[in-house]
Symmetry: C2
Subunit: 231 residues, 2 copies
Amino acid sequence: MPIEPLKLRQVSVFEHATDDDLGLIARHGIERSIEEGEFFFFQGDPTSHGYVLTAGRAKLMQVNPAGQQVNLRTISVWEMFGALGAVRKNATYPASAQAMEPSTALAIKSEYLRELMQTRPYLSIGLMQLMTGYVQEIQERYRELATEKVERRIARVLLRLTAQLGVKTPDGNIELAFSRQELAEMSGTTLYTVSRVLSEWEKHGLVESGRERVVIRKPHGLVKVAEEADE
Amino acid sequence: MPIEPLKLRQVSVFEHATDDDLGLIARHGIERSIEEGEFFFFQGDPTSHGYVLTAGRAKLMQVNPAGQQVNLRTISVWEMFGALGAVRKNATYPASAQAMEPSTALAIKSEYLRELMQTRPYLSIGLMQLMTGYVQEIQERYRELATEKVERRIARVLLRLTAQLGVKTPDGNIELAFSRQELAEMSGTTLYTVSRVLSEWEKHGLVESGRERVVIRKPHGLVKVAEEADE
DNA sequence: CGAACAATTGATCCTCATCAAACCTTGTGG
DNA sequence: CCACAAGGTTTGATGAGGATCAATTGTTCG
């Protein structure tokens, strides 16, 4: 089933596109559905396409030579990804994009994106804003990783995820669907440490956790952990 | 003394500018000279200007609430900085820019940059490429910080600096002018650890170090430290 | 020459990673 | 519907890698 063009307006980069442009983009794109754990593209592949996630959830990650992986970012629906590499000719993706659940994305040829950019200033500007936001986030995370203790980093990760991907439960709390392993990769630590920290927080009533699931009971308490000077 | 407009062609972002444009930019810019240790702008200031470094050397850094600082990037002559924030209206600089030696920069009003971008596609594209390069570098460094041991990170820092800022000595070696403290901030560690690692390397003849100075004797040896799997 | 600042080096401590084992949860097939 | 397998989670024990602190030594420059 082909994508409804006007829905693309939800993509921040296409916010100021004309309806015609959205139609063009939708028609030039190809929808690709993949299973959980599969990849849209790998780090090092030539940057043939830019993507817009239309269903599911994915993550951008890098792997080091020894095979350890780091999560750079979680992508939710109507976010653009892989476009960064598409801007430059003959570049390769600096990271891999893996589906965290069955997912679908609209793949748009890089050349076509570049072509559009020549005549649509809103596109370059939108992409640039996307990128500046991204730079700021990762700079921030870099600083955190360099200077903050693990507990605080985990708190920050949960807060970020709450804002981006939190799901309200019937009883008014916010639930996140991530495994310990995933949280560890996002905060630059190990699943053991994440588990210990969550247990500790659970004792104090800050969170409630289960298999591949964390419920935030006291966001304010987490903010305190994230912000407060070391005791 | 006003800046020679055509020299601005050396700035990667202005590579495809017309001579006229360079003249315009030079005339709209104001040169600002500051002493070592002073700042061009602080993290959190409104992004009033984009800068081009015309003399000296500077660093981009972030400070956390506790006052610890992290170096994001070293800026050398003819590099643009602070432009990232200038792209967005009403934003604030995500980092501070501090002179590492007496330095001069051409400050260009953000609004003027945005105005130019509307009619000069080369500018948006150039800025975007600058940014993609930057994103890639910091992503890479983020991964390093999360997964690599200190020694390797320090080796990487030295190699990066060698490429960007290395100065050939008469006897054919490459010299870097950085204090232990600065190297520590760049590799996410402490000056003590940097000192120990350098001493160790010196024993093996890889480097030779002095006050605010490191001479790379065997770049290949450093590459080995940076790349090789843990023994 | 002496003051100020950078670097070294040793001793100690602390945070986390790592390893191992047991425990839960979820889903599947008999 | 139960039993079992598979994979996620917890928790304890241990140790390594660096951070931190303190004292000393070197270097530069007025």
